[in-house]
Subunit: 290 residues, 2 copies
Amino acid sequence: MTLQSEMTGWSAEVDQHFTRVLSGFADVPIVQAMRYATTGGKRLRAFFVRESARVCGADISRSIAPACAIEALHAYSLVHDDLPCMDDDDLRRGQPTVHVKWDDATAVLCGDALQTLAFELVSDPACHDDPFVRSTLALTLARASGAAGMVYGQALDIAAESAATPLTLEQITELQNGKTGALITWSATAGAILAKADTDALKTYGDALGLAFQIADDILDVTSDAETLGKAAQKDADAGKATFVSLLGLDGAKSRAETLVESACDALSIYGSDADHLRDVARFVIERRS
Amino acid sequence: MTLQSEMTGWSAEVDQHFTRVLSGFADVPIVQAMRYATTGGKRLRAFFVRESARVCGADISRSIAPACAIEALHAYSLVHDDLPCMDDDDLRRGQPTVHVKWDDATAVLCGDALQTLAFELVSDPACHDDPFVRSTLALTLARASGAAGMVYGQALDIAAESAATPLTLEQITELQNGKTGALITWSATAGAILAKADTDALKTYGDALGLAFQIADDILDVTSDAETLGKAAQKDADAGKATFVSLLGLDGAKSRAETLVESACDALSIYGSDADHLRDVARFVIERRS
């Protein structure tokens, strides 16, 4: 099967699991907004969870809960990031953002409940029989997404907006490692946690790929348009924010992303051809058009 | 020792634990706001965790992590609830709210990271040796605070604001069971989870006390002032919202709260005099002035 059909198939399973899980809540606007916010997207993080589970020999069907957890966590971060007091975005995945379709209060609570759902999913015995696995998934997910992970990256991003000078390459790398990288690395190591296997190689893969992903995003921000992206384009350039493209140039950024993808793929050598999907998706990350 | 000195002593230990935990993060504004938002308050929920641990025979020192977790969770809910797009409150615990002291974006992220911290605290091996205990604490905390618990109550609260008719007693009870009750019940049962003991009696206590707590809040809203409360008073009455006082009258509400506290205390009979602190704090909940 091709990478695309594998990803589409897994995405459909993630959709079904979200439908099942969310149908357990009362049908109030906040839950409708949770359903809306978890629909669509590339499901890259969910795919990393499944493929890391596969290369580590874990039961793939058992990766559905952590796969949905990371997509719920990611969705919460987007819903809050799009708020008027944050990035103030009207468009996400080609659709109106949650606060535009409902209102700001619903968007705040929808994001809050999506974060909670992520921890509920990995802590539920349905996720895995072994409570050590569940607890480790929850702990690592919390560390990747909290004030030492994703929120730390967002804090640096906010601080950068009022800084006197644009960020350096080192600073923007630290920012993006938190804002985007930590959750991608979690996705790529979750399968190893499920299999109680060593996470080192997958962590190296995730760290390199997380950065490549953000560089690719910065490239798309200047080379693509809103219709293709499904969200506002040229935002960073218009805001005069430092990006990998502004710091390295377009060719320099492309070359850096390619080098990172190569080192991400190299890290997977211990898994042999079992890791071909992970290698393919790494290349997809920098070749995608949206 | 008196209830007050016990509560003050435990509150100081909670403060110290927060200081230790938060010093592990970079000193960025969001982390400063997290420190600010977790300072002060009655620490009632933290005390419920400790006392439930004590009556169940768990090591009290082991209740510090879940005690801080529930206070972090509670603080996140207040920070988000105070936002301009939610209740729009300027004053909390007698101090400017987080979005007033910093800004809305910092308040959103501060609340987000406080929620994450709650799950990190209970999932960390430092909380408890047994991963089943850690995983159960995380799962029950998620269920109590998410779209079937606290956020569900908040969703009903938002819906009530635009409803054509005021809520009935049954509806407001359902709303408050979610918004306030679920986390109080979690606090009162966390100690039993730590001790791997039965949670039934403490759940009955927590459910009754959570409702008594909210009725007492409604009474204080009409009988107290902002200076004593440390937050805006008369808000619900001014907004024409249905409350236990508007539905039962002041005397009826007081009588209902007293009955609930009695049944909360009765539920603790299996613990004998070990549960005297829990009985005292139940009475304190409806006799407090702020």
